[in-house]
Amino acid sequence: MTTEPITVLGAGVMGVGITALLAGHGLPVRLVDTAPEQLTRAPGRIRQELRTAHLMGALPPDREQGEVSPHSGVSAARGARLVIEAITEDTGLKKAVLSEVSAQVSPGTPIVSNTSSIPIDELAEAVRHPGDLIGTHFMNPPALITTVEVVRGARTREATLDAVRGLLREVGRRPVVVRDAPGFVTSRLLHPMINQAARLVQEGTASAEDVDALMLGCLGHRTGPLRTADLIGIDNLVDSLWVLLKRTGDEACRPCDLLLRKAADGHHGRKTGQGFYTYEESAT
């Protein structure tokens, strides 16, 4: 296996989580963010992710952790084995960064956009070699959820798909490859459902705790839709719902007032310490 580092763009929730997964399996990572405070906070957050994975027995034993180096510019993509873009869920921003990345890497370097809802073929317009672009939709936390949705765009080359499959197996993940579409499979199903769950709370039908308790106890959901919202990040969830609404016209994807209010108030879930629930660990 090649030892060239993987470059991860964006030190937000998913960038940090993906970095922890890769480093926890011994792979070197260059973590890039243009916001200095994100880079400053990243080591502590990566450590927290790795501790949780360790606690749950999700890391391979006796494997030395891969080195994570912080970078402030996209030039850190140069020479990378593979680049994973995990910035804000905004089509324009993603396109701009992907365009910069494709100017840095040699043709044939897989460029992975980690997105929960934006069609890969739309993003492919921004890169020099659309065949090198592919999508993943890691769930949070990446080190604990072993299945990964992989999105093959209309122009994605077979070699790109093979490289991503190979990497995912190397870090103990099981890829499930789906066709390109807004929200793919998981977000197209999950996001309107979470939106609806929030609407039930908004309308006073049940508390967040009780909605989750019913989904867990009666329907076998592992986390509950509203705790899942907190885990995703409510700001990101709202961004994704807008992406879905715009591209599908499905009114079930129009973010409800409660979600919009939480997003506006900075109650984004686990990462801010407050969402539908309160989180003690985030206070550290």
Binding site: L55, M56, L144, E280
Partner: protein, 88 residues
């Protein structure tokens, strides 16, 4: 003299009280709180951080495994072994 306070005065009641707040059920000391399902890795990690902060301990290495956090008894055992105190 016993201070009239709601604050738990021993490790076991402190842990039980925390679990009660978070899960809205009163845990039996020897029952696996994760067995019933519905409690996630997130909650397990909350327990780790809470025990560290509350009792002034650092949990690492081989102690970082879910089995240490499955029951109130096992958590009391861990905290005691690591020298944790209620007023840490």
């Amino acid at each position: 003299m016993t201070a009239p306070t709601d604050r738990p005065t021993d490790v076991q009641s402190a842990i039980s009280a925390f679990i009660e707040t978070r899960t809205r059920t009163t845990p039996e000391p020897d029952v696996d709180i994760f067995a019933a399902g519905g409690l996630s890795s997130l909650f397990a990690m909350e327990l780790v951080v809470h025990l560290e902060k509350t009792f002034g301990i650092a949990i690492s290495g081989a102690d970082m495994r879910l089995d240490n956090f499955r029951t109130v008894d096992s958590m009391v055992g861990l905290v005691t072994r690591l020298g944790g105190r209620v007023d840490a």
